[in-house]
């Protein structure tokens, strides 16, 4: 357990001394996972809403596709994104491989079905008669969605939490498409893996602790938002 203790000491030291490299890695982590989550929210919430509210041919198939996408292995997403973005792959001309943009793409692919799936479940659990009531208030399609999402906000926030949690903690895809380039695409998880493979467990533990602090504070604020005014 010395390793963990040393890791904590090292983490504190890094935080206090505002180590430039660690700071940069932390900011990049936030930036990449934040933007990816934002994209997945923009894609996932409307998608989940449509799946929850409309009945069309192939809906059942799409629902299982989303549920399945929720379990899409980051490694597989990483591999597929990698194959798409390579120089001679279909999107090679964009030259995005081994850049933060590539990581954002892969993470958004991972998070979108998560957000969509949980948004769907949240909206399905809104009283179906309330949906009719909202329509009868004269709401446009957009206002309707807004109000329904408001009613399902508890579950939708859980969806966002899950999406963000899924990507900030992910390593396989980020490693593959980002390449863990120092000062450019190195994020907290990939840096941790590198430190482990270097055998510097203290540093790995320190980075883990920073990652945990980071995700804990974000999760805590999201869950505060979610639980506000909801006592059992």
């Amino acid at each position: 357990m010395d390793v963990i203790l040393d890791g904590i000491i090292e983490a504190v030291r890094l935080l206090i001394s505002l180590d430039r490299e660690v700071l940069q890695i932390t900011l990049l982590t936030l930036q990449v996972s934040g933007i990816a989550t934002l994209i997945s929210v923009l894609i996932g919430i409307p998608m989940g809403t449509v799946l929850a509210l409309t009945g069309f041919m192939g809906r059942g198939f799409l629902v299982s596709l989303v549920n399945f996408g929720m379990g899409l292995p980051p490694v597989v997403v990483g591999l597929a994104t990698w194959l798409c973005l390579t120089r001679y792959g279909p999107l090679g001309m964009l030259g995005l491989l081994y850049s933060p943009a590539a990581m954002i793409i892969a993470q958004a692919v991972i998070a979108s079905p998560i957000v969509a799936g949980f948004s769907m479940a949240a909206i399905q659990s809104v009283n179906p008669k309330l949906r009719l009531q909202i329509l009868s208030l004269g709401a446009t399609q957009f206002q309707f969605l807004f109000l329904i999402i408001w009613e399902a906000r508890l579950g939708i926030l859980a969806a966002v939490i899950a999406g963000f949690g899924g990507v900030i903690s992910e390593v396989g895809a980020s490693m593959m498409v980002g390449g863990n380039v120092r000062g450019y695409t190195r994020v907290l998880t990939t840096a941790t893996v590198l430190e482990v493979s270097k055998g510097s467990f203290e540093m790995a533990t320190a980075l883990s602790i920073i990652l945990l602090l980071l995700s804990f504070s974000i999760m805590a604020s999201l869950s505060y938002l979610q639980q506000r005014g909801r006592r059992p």
């Binding site: 120089r87 001679y88 081994y98 380039v181 450019y184 493979s197 270097k198 055998g199």
Partner: protein
């Protein structure tokens, strides 16, 4: 004090093996290179197999690997050019300090024979890496076919992870000296067999052929190769690790074929 004009294509993709990165060597060299030339090196540290595959597909600009036999195929096919020797270190057989199979001091093929005879646990990387290939060639020399035996485990992971597993399981394994030295503090393993001629671990740097792959950053790759074999860089390689481990992790080797 940068030399030459601003490069046309700034990004340079280097595909290399984990050992060069994990040892920290490239973290020392690349800032110097970047400052000097203005390129940004994107170091992708992967298994040797993947590094070579990336070269074969033109996905990397320059390669730094340690599997001469496999590299030779790329050179012969014209996939890579400007193939230059950079440095070497060596492979060593490590195992628990108690040395249950009693291989201490034996030359490597004999040591492996003893391990097989005693049925002591041996951990192979099993990942087609340079180290794995070297290990297989030693088994061949020892005239043992270990695959499928109960005492022969394939970790399917990098050197660091494999060393840790060996340490945990009190098993033997073949490792490059650099990684072993870097990790030694966390391991309960000793070097038991070393110094054989065939256990040399030679690193080569090479440019991916821009005539075959139009997207390859030829100028950058050339600059990188020249950089690695430049005398002052060779000196840095030789000094690297002396301070921390009391000995060099790599020995500069440029120009000797």
């Amino acid at each position: 004090q940068k030399i030459g004009p601003e490069p046309a294509v700034r990004d340079l993709i280097l595909a290399t093996t984990t050992s060069t990165v994990d040892s920290g060597l490239l973290d020392l060299l690349h800032p110097v290179f970047e400052k000097k030339t203005g390129y940004r090196v994107k170091t992708i540290s992967v298994g040797t197999g993947q590094a070579l595959a990336m070269g074969e597909k033109g996905e990397a600009d320059v390669l730094l690997t340690h599997a001469p036999a496999s590299e030779k195929k790329l050179v012969d096919a014209g996939t890579v050019i400007n193939y230059r020797r950079v440095m070497f270190n060596d492979f060593v057989l490590v195992g628990p300090p108690k040395d249950p199979a009693g291989i201490k001091g034996k030359p490597s093929p004999e040591a492996l024979k003893t391990i097989a005879a005693k049925g002591s646990v041996f951990i192979s990387r099993g990942d087609d890496s340079g180290t794995h290939k070297k290990e297989l060639s030693v088994w061949k020399k020892a005239e043992v076919t270990p695959a499928g035996s109960k005492w022969y485990l394939e970790s399917g992971q990098g050197m660091g992870a494999t060393l840790r597993m060996a340490s945990e399981k009190e098993a033997y394994t073949l490792t490059d000296r650099g990684t072993y030295l870097a990790q030694r503090a966390n391991l309960n393993l000793d070097i038991l067999s070393e110094g054989d001629r065939e256990l040399l671990n030679i690193y080569h740097v090479m440019q991916v052929n821009h005539e075959k792959f139009n997207k390859v950053n030829a100028a950058g790759a050339k600059a990188y190769v020249e950089f690695m074999v430049a005398p002052e860089v060779q000196k840095m390689i030789g000094e690297f690790g002396k301070e921390k481990f009391g000995q060099s992790l790599f020995f500069p080797d440029a120009g000797k074929e």
